[in-house]
């Protein structure tokens, strides 16, 4: 049962991170390679708010709101300038943004390993979730938050007017604009939501395990999960995360822990060869990449 719990926790981590890749790609067709850095920035925003207040009920929501705002600003101040440029130019811009953010984080927060949970007085205890299976309380929260985020996103995209506009902008931006949809507003919103979900992942990971620049690499490890599922499918991100996490945990347990680092990318390569648009992605989307 411990293996099942381990798979669920790891897939929740990957799913919460990878939905940011999917949202931005699905709506604006931009592959955001700064997602790991933006996730890390979200975690550092929590560290910053924790230095002002030790109340987690204040520090976490304030950091989340700041993340949401920063995501929108990234689009409005930077990515908006890429409108009309090639997709490659937009991707290169996200790479440059990532490098910039790494440098700024060291300047403002230093490279030291830090623990936002300490000033907030949060202690991650051990919880029995299944017979013979224990996880940390923060991992349990992460699983619940991931479920809530995905349920909210599905509901938002399916049922709300803004969600409908977002889907329209993703499917046919020209037609959507002709119908009066404010594309820049939609794109700013999707960048904000993507940064918000990534930041929540970063905050929960850093509350559980501490915070340093290696968080970027964890963000990158979730990328194969998004691609395996299909870059324009939220359901695909969920299933892709489950596949990658299950492969990783089972190989650690039964074959060789070293394979954990390689397998997500091996699965990605296999998927790109066999079904390049991913399990739930669309061919049309790939052509546009």
């Amino acid at each position: 049962m411990q293996l099942v719990a381990n798979i669920i926790v790891l897939s929740a981590i990957y799913a919460l991170i990878s939905c940011g890749y999917v949202l931005i790609y699905r709506v604006s067709r931009v592959l955001n390679l700064a997602h790991g850095e933006l996730m890390m920035v979200g975690a550092y925003l929590l560290l910053m708010t924790a230095s002002f207040t030790s109340n987690p009920m204040v520090a976490i929501p304030v950091a989340a709101i700041l993340s949401l705002t920063m995501g929108a600003l990234v689009y409005l101040l930077l990515m908006r300038r890429m409108t009309g440029e090639s997709v490659l130019a937009a991707i290169l811009t996200t790479i440059a943004l990532g490098i910039l953010l790494r440098g700024l984080i060291v300047i403002f927060f230093s490279a030291a390993h830090q623990y936002p949970a300490v000033p907030l007085g949060i202690h991650s205890s051990s919880v029995q979730v299944l017979p013979g299976a224990r996880i940390s309380s923060l991992s349990l929260i992460l699983v619940i938050v991931t479920a809530l985020v995905y349920a909210s996103l599905f509901a938002f995209l399916r049922l709300s007017r803004w969600g409908l506009r977002m889907r329209a902008a993703g499917q046919n931006p020209l037609l959507a604009a002709q119908r009066g949809i404010n594309l820049h507003g939609i794109y700013a919103m999707v960048w904000a939501i993507a940064m918000f979900t990534g930041s929540v992942a970063g905050m929960l990971i850093s509350l559980d395990a501490g915070l340093d620049q290696t968080l970027i690499m964890i963000g990158l490890k979730a990328f194969p999960a998004a691609l395996v599922g299909g870059l324009d499918s939220l359901l695909g991100a969920l299933i892709g995360s489950l596949i990658v996490a299950a492969a990783e945990v089972l190989l650690i347990q039964y074959v060789n822990p070293l394979l954990a680092d390689v397998v997500p990318f091996l699965i990605l390569i296999v998927m790109l060869v066999v079904r390049p648009w991913g399990l739930f992605g669309t061919r049309e989307a790939l052509d546009r990449v």
């Binding site: 490279a111 051990s126 070293l258």
Partner: protein, 386 residues
């Protein structure tokens, strides 16, 4: 007229700088100030900078300041190589210092050999070339000592629990860490312990629980980890969350002091070669004061490695005299005995054959819940380096 005055002032400034540089001992450092591993190196670099600043404020060495040129390599070998070429070719340093990942060693060592300039490893694991019989030009002050660390750790475990134990082993998927833990596996077997196959954790890892599960399910009584701090401590925390109640011993990296206080777990031991600041020796107070005066970025208790490197560089340059070239500095470093003022269990002694140290000292610490403080579980144990 104004522009002419500015030009003259600028020229005078340049001449002044050049004269100042000519009067200074020029030494250069390439280190991981940024990048994913910077947290393990940047505090030591800051400690060295504080030492050099303090030295210069006191008049330098026989009236000559020490100019420390610090370049960032982000832990990348290619940038390390670029930095060493700049330090040797443009800056003409008389001593190079490496404070970065072991993957940056090879290019810097090759450049140092070509230029005949000594290279000091001051923040990461000492390379094999500094142990007897030492290779010329390569020196190391860092606390780590491959093989000796595992020997001392296993001696401690044996003293605590005997040899009838199942020993879990954890390493990071980097050559240095894997090599040491695989050596520990052999040493443990020779002693009659039952070592598990090492659990090698790739960097970075989103969740350490799957790795901890393999160790826990194999029934480890003790776990030994010799890896970067992140792997050591997160594996331990994951084990505890699984309900594992055994004892865990890890190498005391520069983060150890703060982390022992954070974890507050009596089953977590840190073995290392540096004294902790909880001891509050005069040298600890001196480092704290220097850090406070400079508004340092990192915690003073993470600066011991840099300060020790400063003590050694100070002694080497004094011994080399003025004017010092690389040859004189190398000759001075080959016959050096530096009092570490309590930061280590004994002095750093270098001879032409041994560029590591003649004797390596280890201490073991853990958290004492009753006293709410860090305890010395085992005082300095000496190991002769042969």
């Amino acid at each position: 007229m104004i522009s002419r005055t500015i030009a003259l002032a600028a020229a005078a400034g340049l001449l002044g700088t050049a004269a100042g540089a000519q009067d200074a001992y020029r030494i250069g450092l390439s280190g991981a100030l940024t990048g994913p591993v910077a947290g393990s190196y940047a505090p030591a670099i800051e400690g060295l900078q504080l030492y050099i600043n303090r030295l210069n404020e006191g008049g330098g060495i026989d009236g000559h300041p020490v100019e420390l040129i610090v370049l960032d390599d982000s832990g990348e070998p290619s940038r390390g190589a670029t930095n060493s070429r700049r330090l040797l070719g443009q800056e003409e340093v008389v001593l190079m210092i490496n404070a970065s990942l072991s993957s940056t060693y090879a290019p810097m060592m090759a450049d140092a050999r070509r230029a005949g300039v000594p290279l000091l490893f001051a923040a990461s694991a000492c390379p094999a070339e500094v142990y007897p019989p030492a290779e010329p030009l390569l020196f190391c002050t860092t606390a780590f000592a491959a093989r000796y660390d595992s020997q001392a750790t296993l001696d401690f475990i044996e003293a605590q629990a005997g040899t009838d134990i199942s020993l879990g082993l954890s390493a990071m998927a980097i050559p240095l860490s894997r090599g040491e833990i695989e050596a520990a596996e052999g040493l443990a077997t020779e002693r009659g312990m039952r070592p598990q196959a090492p659990t090698i954790v790739p960097p970075p890892t989103a969740d350490y629980t799957p790795f901890a599960t393999t160790i826990s399910q194999a029934g480890a009584d003790w776990v030994y980890s010799w890896a970067p701090w992140v792997t050591e401590v997160r594996t331990f925390e994951a084990l505890r969350r699984l309900g594992w109640e055994g004892e865990y011993i890890a190498w005391a990296h520069l983060e150890a002091e703060g982390e022992l206080a954070r974890l507050q777990d009596e089953g977590f031991y840190a073995i290392g070669a540096n004294s902790l600041f909880a001891e509050d020796l005069p040298v600890h107070q001196e480092i704290r004061a220097a850090a406070e005066a400079a508004g340092a970025t990192y915690a003073p208790d993470q600066m011991a490695e840099g300060w020790i490197a400063g003590l050694v560089i100070d002694a080497a340059l004094q011994s080399a005299g003025w004017p010092a070239d690389a040859e004189a500095v190398n000759a001075a470093m080959e016959n050096l005995n530096v009092d570490t003022q309590g930061l280590r269990g004994g002095p750093i002694e270098w001879t032409p054959e041994n560029h590591f140290r003649a004797t390596q000292y280890y201490r073991v610490y853990r958290w004492n819940a009753d006293e709410g403080a860090i305890d010395v579980v085992q005082d300095w144990a000496a190991y002769t380096v042969e």
